[in-house]
């Protein structure tokens, strides 16, 4: 036990050093941009995975919280000059509060119809932000005023700084997931995901547990929304509440390994790398190629490896590990 735990810390330390040194070693801004996308979508996947992976509440509406986070911080910054660092937390709180009525409605349905209801809520929010233009710029959106180098306003001249911000977010997300995984609430979540009625029968307060985890998941997703808006200096309802955000959050988790700590990260690395390679190979001229490939990967995973890449790796590990001591 002691050695395996030591090994784990060693791997984590090596990983941390590599991740921290990465922007110093790789200077191509195309590559840094891909790293930032990978870290960002890993983080969104981690937030989705808390609810979608552990409790199996398969939401396709996380763009709702991504957009609320993005709009809250942007409205505070553009209209009142408040730093996005504060706006980010405020956006998280707004998303948490919004998750209460949304959850109240959607959790009345189970399985696929829960999924549909979550899609509908994200669409409704997008339509609201499209419609009320005096409140948030309507369909045209707005650009974020560029202040040059202003770390206090979450604006940096170097792309590597954005890299460190989103790396920090991902570390927080993974740490929270790790803590939840090891706590009683983690076991409750898995019990709900396996069989909600059975979990309630043995005394799990399923509505409360689901509500709480949905709030945490919404909070984290909103942080990603603020970061993304600051990174691209632009916001409009179509990007902030983009259905693609909801899709990718779920996809990376399922492909990597649903309900596992590192699943979303591994899934994002695979999908984003594939997408970057496709883009440099075919150019961005062919519309639809990225999602065509994503959907083929998703189908392959569901049909052959429903536990995702992590499950695939553990299977191989167990098969080879079992062979060795068997002869001893």
């Amino acid at each position: 036990m002691q050695t395996s735990s030591n090994m784990k810390w060693l791997w984590l330390a090596i990983g941390a050093v590599v991740m921290l040194a990465m922007p110093q070693l790789v200077t191509s801004s195309f590559a840094i941009d891909i790293f930032i996308r990978i870290l960002l979508f890993s983080f969104i996947g981690v937030a989705w995975n808390l609810m979608g992976g552990y409790a199996k509440q398969l939401s396709l509406g996380h763009a709702a919280y991504f957009g609320l986070g993005a709009y809250t911080s942007t409205i505070m910054q553009v209209n009142y000059g408040i730093s996005p660092w504060i706006g980010m937390i405020a956006g998280g709180v707004v998303a948490m509060l919004a998750s209460l009525p949304i959850g109240w409605l959607c959790f009345r349905l189970r399985g696929p119809y829960f999924t549909i209801a979550t899609i509908a809520t994200a669409q409704v929010l997008m339509l609201i932000f499209l419609k009320f233009r005096d409140f948030a710029w309507g369909a045209e959106g707005t650009t974020i005023p560029n202040l040059g180098s202003a770390p206090l306003m979450m604006q940096f001249e170097e792309k590597s700084s954005y890299y460190y911000v989103v790396l920090g977010l991902l570390v927080v997300g993974l740490w929270i997931t790790h803590r939840i995984e090891k706590s009683w609430i983690g076991y409750y979540l898995v019990a709900i995901g396996e069989d909600e009625d059975a979990a309630e029968a043995i005394g799990v307060n399923a509505p409360k547990v689901k509500r709480d985890i949905y709030m945490i998941s919404a909070f984290l997703t909103a942080l990603a929304g603020t970061f993304y808006t600051q990174y691209i200096y632009f916001i409009d309802p179509a990007t902030a509440f983009s259905f693609n955000v909801s899709i990718e959050a779920a996809l990376v988790s399922i492909v990597g390994g649903i309900g596992t700590l590192w699943g979303p990260v591994i899934g994002t690395v695979l999908l984003e790398t594939t997408s970057a390679l496709l883009q440099s190979w075919l150019g961005s001229s062919v519309g639809g190629i990225q999602l065509t490939v994503y959907s083929l990967i998703l189908m392959a995973v569901i049909l052959w490896r429903p536990t995702g890449l992590i499950g695939f790796a553990t299977d191989i590990y167990h098969r080879t590990a079992r062979r060795k001591p068997a002869r001893a």
Partner: protein
């Protein structure tokens, strides 16, 4: 005022007939196979493209191409059920939801690659024709689409209630385990249900073609309507889906008429959320889910 209202109701009912074909397919699959087909809208899109290419390449009227699009999609449904859906039927929701969702993404983006995002239209002799009855305006193409949609729904009802296979499908949707104990072959019943649902989507596509543009995302509009109608009409209930679809069409049309041109979807979603809040198991519900 009354004329505007009556006109909006007529417009809504006519498009509601098309929504009904899509919703009946969704609810049929849900009732019998117990999965939600997220890709249903993409099969409407495929039906539209089939009619579009038959019309532009061979000059076949979209209404006639119904006899091509329906069998082709029926066959596609049987194959999809046999090779894909059958492998993920089980107690776990995740594979079912994301398999049909992946199928939807795949078909949508493949058609984006193959046909580009351009809007394709077919102009027929009756595309612009309309009857004027009193002060009301009834477009012929939509009226034909509505009539054929209702006829197909009626045929399905007759099939479900008078043939052995139809009865077997209804039995399977009421209680799958007992139906199997009675000697019903589930694979055959599932394949027919899936094929029929897709044939209805294909029919919807062909019927739309004389007055609606085909483009890769067109199915999304119809599938959202269908999902809302199926929730409102109680999951798995064919008659409920039909009535709810007509209501959705009218609600959307009234929204466009009295609230604003871009508010159709808001009205529809508002209906969905109200249904969820007050009657989560649908309007004609016996049991919840």
């Amino acid at each position: 005022m009354w004329e505007t209202l009556a006109q909006a109701v007529i417009n809504g009912l006519l498009i509601g007939g098309i929504y009904a074909l899509v919703s009946i397919g969704v609810t049929l699959i849900f009732g019998v196979v117990k999965i939600v087909n997220f890709a249903q809208g993409e099969f409407v899109m495929i039906g539209m493209y089939i009619s579009f290419f038959l019309a532009t390449q061979f000059g076949i009227d979209p209404l006639v191409s119904l006899v091509v699009s329906m069998p082709v999609l029926f066959l596609a449904g049987v194959l999809i059920q046999h090779f894909l859906i059958r492998r993920v039927l089980g107690p776990n929701d995740m594979p079912q939801i994301f398999l049909t969702f992946a199928l939807s993404l795949l078909l949508l983006n493949l058609s984006l690659m193959l046909f580009s995002a351009n809007y394709r239209t077919v102009h027929t002799s009756y595309s612009d024709a309309a009857w004027h009855i009193g002060g009301l305006y009834i477009p012929v193409a939509k009226l034909i689409a509505f009539a054929v949609a209702m006829a197909l729904s009626g045929l399905l009802w007759v099939f479900l209630h008078t043939t052995d296979l139809g009865r077997a499908m209804r039995a399977a949707s009421q209680n799958r385990d007992v139906a199997m104990l009675m000697g019903i072959n589930p694979n055959r019943v599932f394949a027919v249900a899936f094929g029929t649902a897709l044939a209805l989507a294909g029919a919807a596509g062909s019927l739309l073609m004389p007055f609606y543009s085909a483009y890769p995302f067109v199915g999304q509009v119809f599938v959202l309507m269908a999902f809302v109608a199926v929730v409102m009409g109680t999951l798995g209930n064919v008659m409920g889906a039909l009535i709810a679809s007509l209501m959705m069409g009218v609600a959307e049309s009234l929204g466009i008429q009295f609230v604003g041109a871009d508010s159709g979807l808001i009205v529809v979603f508002a209906l969905l959320l109200l249904t969820l809040a007050f009657r989560p198991s649908g309007l004609g519900a016996r049991r919840g889910r």
